[in-house]
Amino acid sequence: MSHLISILVFSPLAGILALSLLSSKNERALKLAGLLGALLPMLIAVIAAASFERSASGIQLAEQVNWISYKMLKTGDAAYFSIRYEVGANGLSIVLMLLTAVISVLAAVGSWTVKRDWKSYFIFFLILELGMLGVFAAQNLFLFFIFFEITLIPMFFLIGRWGYADREKAAYSFLIYNGIGSAILLIVFVALFMRAGTLNYGELAKILSTNGYPGLGSTFRMSVLIALLVAFGIKLPIVPLHTWMLRVHVQAPPSIVMIHSGILLKIGAYGLFTFGIGFFPAEFKQLAVWIAVLGVINLLFGAFLAIVQTDLKKVLAYSSVSHMGIVLIGFAAMNEAGLKGAIFQLISHGLISALLFFLIGVLYERTGSSDLKDYSGLAGAMPVTAGVLLAGGLASLGLPGMSGFISEFLAFLGLFKVMPVIAAVGTLGIVLTAVYVLRAVLSVTFGPTRESYPVGRDMTAREKIPAFVLLGLVLVIGIYPGMLSEPLHTVLDTILLGLRG
């Protein structure tokens, strides 16, 4: 049995240990330790991805250890309710773990702008990374929940201590909304556990696909699915459960928003995909129309509001809402193209929004503002930054040749096959996306150059690395999507098999 996944998940602990040994005054060493602490998981993630058998289906690199066991005496013999520690990876989760590790490293680079308390900042940062890796590695619901909650606490601190002016409110609203989400999840998970007797993904999927399993009637399934939809809908977020996420986008430090928008939001989609579609394909199909409608609402609502925002961070926050609508649209299609599009969108948006928020961090560092009014003619003063911003914007609006295009195209292709009318309404969103992205990007890039810009302070080498790495990945996926679709293939096959019944 290989322990690669466990090592990967807990590798941020090495960084935490190193950080805790350093003096809290030594800024350089702390930042370096934080960066190295994030590099280590990336290294291991690459190794794990390399040893991952792409063509094989099922869970790979799986590990299992007995953990907790409840003995329930039922008329004579004892029934055991066992919870195991089990991790592993399928094609989707290995990709998401890799994405997590990469974005964390880049966000660690982006954290250079943090002004105080580096020690506790990087400790929370690495705990957050541990939680995110664990969420994707977990192979049972208990573990998923634990890692899910582990991401909550460091985020609360990171927003509340290192955010902007209104940070505490943002931290509390993050905590409460997500608390409600995990509250619903916990009830659902325990209810499933008590009825099916297991929490393992594979075993659960098998039990749920057997007809007439006692205690798992159709009403129960439907209510569980709706509960999951609400719980992950808060995380994703689905309008109208999105207000907390706007606050976080605006108030959290940019490097944390890179992670938040790049990965944490994806946990909602990952959960919806793995548990919603994976466990309850038939029920999901019944709800598909509603999910498609919700997706289109997300898409249009986010896009419309992004058009009128005056703060660059808010534009991107609403753009995230809008882009998550495409994920829902892809899910609702319930066919190969749609699901593929949705998953592509997860990864693509993870990269693009991380890139854009990194750039906001770069700009804020120099000007102390993210208001669109304060920007104009950036192309003259900071040509590289302006160029990357434009490229990121184009990727975001789905320019062919970049990752955004593939995902939007596939998602809509899928939906047009099954619900052409809703899809047609949804395409409006693509137009609106172009409008708000170009409006924001162009007003920053072009126009007369402001006198107030610090001259000659374009991106430094340190800042260029994350920007170009992210942009490179966006382009690579756009040009050669096969790189991504290969490992996803077997996952989609399994899901599609479940859909056909």
Binding site: M72, L186, M194
Partner: protein
């Protein structure tokens, strides 16, 4: 009963109680003969030694088969052992904590505190190990009376007097209510032994008085909610917690509550497990909706009112009311996991709550006020204390990897593992847990987000450090490896002896 029968009885099984009793007597004599000015602190060490000895005797009994004295008036069974473990552990930690407590002008009463705490513990232990209404009631009263005095130990302080007075009055009322309910049960069965009561209630002749039986159930239950501070008798908690010396507050919120739960479980499960309800159904099933309402009301009242508290001790009083509501959930749903999950949660609650009170003691002593602002910028002043407090609060809020979460997960398994599942109760539990985030995380926010004025550095006292470290370590350990506690539970305790009548050996 002649001397020979008395000496022939197996008194050895009461060894843990005798040790506690002996220590209490010894301490009271020593206190009496010590000169007035002399420090009473050494008595604390003696008290801790007594608890340790009692603990060892209890530990030695773990392998023993069950036994009883006076026809189950006193029982040595898994149930009593499991709960006495928590009671002794809790009191031991509180004594260590109390060693550092500054009594200021009331320093001369320190000796009283020690032996009153021990007699209270003795009462609690009797509550855990008795299966007879008379002895259960004596245990209850011994615990209550000692607690009343302890609440008023700071005689010079108005609020301490207020606490003691309110505690006596509400306590007296609830005792009267309890006794009133018990008298009905006795009247219908003619028995005081719980097993005999249970057998008598199985009789069909009881069916004529079903309504009376349900009435008796609720009256007794309402009276006993006083000890665990749940609705309807929970309103004493904030005033008493606020006014009492801090170690007493910790004792009331942990040990006294655990004893209350032991009594409730023992009493109601033994008496009513097979009693018929109105029109056929089992009584325990029929009363479930009403008990659920009480548990729900407790959780809602505790958590919602806690939102508006500025005084940290009042806040923790409401928090402990809310926690009582959580712990009631397994009892309400009566699933097969009732004992281990209740026991586990009480164990977790012991560590997280005593730990939190240890930090509160340090912080309020340094700040000179009970106001929550005393926690401002604690992370800057003493980071380790802030980290420990964060662990306790996360555990109380039920965040994973703490014992509180593992306990809450068990409670959920109870609520949702029965047929039909208690979705509403589970929903209330979860919703109120989210509400509790507001006030729990507010404390965290005070410690980490606020800078606070440069307060005096908090002095680290040894006893306090030990308690905080032990509690934090245990909270984390049982959070990451709840299996360890469960394994211990299943190995050491066979709870099927709970319903067995033991003949005196």
């Amino acid at each position: 009963m002649d001397l020979q029968t008395l000496t022939s009885m197996n008194w050895g099984i009461m060894a843990p109680e005798f040790v506690v009793l002996g220590t209490a007597l010894l301490l009271s004599l020593l206190d009496l003969f010590m000169t007035g000015k002399k420090s009473r602190r050494p008595l604390g060490i003696l008290a801790i030694a007594g608890i340790a000895a009692s603990f060892i005797f209890l530990y030695l009994q773990f392998g023993d088969p069950g036994a009883s004295l006076f026809h189950d008036m006193y029982r040595l069974d898994s149930f009593s052992k499991a709960f006495k473990l928590i009671l002794l552990l809790g009191t031991g930690l509180i004594l260590v904590l109390a060693y550092d407590y500054q009594m200021k002008e009331e320093e001369e009463y320190r000796g009283e505190f020690y032996y009153l705490l021990l007699t209270a513990l003795l009462g609690a232990m009797v509550m855990a190990s008795s299966a007879d209404m008379i002895t259960l009631f004596i245990g209850l009263e011994l615990l209550s009376l000692s607690s009343y005095v302890m609440a008023g130990l700071r005689k010079g302080k108005m609020e301490s007097n207020e606490a003691a007075f309110k505690y006596v009055v509400t306590g007296g009322i609830s005792t009267a209510v309890t006794l009133f309910g018990m008298s009905y049960i006795f009247g219908m069965t003619g028995e005081t032994n719980l097993y005999a009561v249970g057998a008598a209630l199985r009789d069909t002749s009881i069916l004529q008085n079903q309504f009376l039986l349900v009435f008796a159930f609720f009256i007794t239950f309402a009276g006993l909610t006083f000890k665990i501070a749940s609705a309807p008798f929970h309103m004493w908690a904030p005033d008493v917690y606020q006014g009492s010396p801090l170690p007493v507050t910790a004792f009331l919120s942990v040990v006294s509550k655990t004893a209350g739960f032991a009594l409730i479980l023992r009493f109601f499960l033994l008496c009513f497990s097979s009693a018929p309800g109105i029109k056929g159904d089992q009584l325990l099933l029929q009363v479930q909706p009403y008990l659920a309402v009480l548990a729900g009301a407790t959780m809602i009242a505790g958590n919602v009112i806690a939102l508006r508290q500025r005084d940290i001790k009042r806040l923790f009083a409401y928090s402990s009311v809310a926690q009582a509501g959580y712990i009631l959930v397994p009892f309400v749903s009566v699933s097969a996991l009732l004992f281990e999950t209740t026991w586990f949660y009480l164990l977790a609650y012991l560590f997280m709550n005593i730990g939190a009170f240890a930090v509160i003691q340090a912080v309020t002593a340094a700040a000179g006020t009970n106001d929550i602002s005393g926690f401002e910028g604690l992370y800057k002043r003493s980071p380790w204390l802030a980290v420990a407090m964060t662990i306790f609060i996360l555990s109380l809020a039920g965040i994973p990897l703490t014992a509180g979460f593992a306990g809450k997960f068990g409670i959920f398994m109870n609520a949702l593992g029965t047929n039909p599942p208690h979705y509403i109760l589970a929903g209330i539990l979860m919703a109120t847990t989210v509400v509790s985030y507001f006030y729990y995380f507010n404390i965290i926010g005070q410690m980490f987000f606020r800078t606070g004025q440069e307060g005096p550095r908090i002095q680290h006292k040894n006893g306090l450090l030990v308690v905080t470290a032990v509690c934090a370590a245990a909270t984390l350990f049982f959070g990451i490896f709840p299996g360890a506690a469960l394994h211990f539970f299943y190995n050491e305790f066979q709870f099927n002896d709970f319903f067995q009548v033991m003949e005196q050996k």
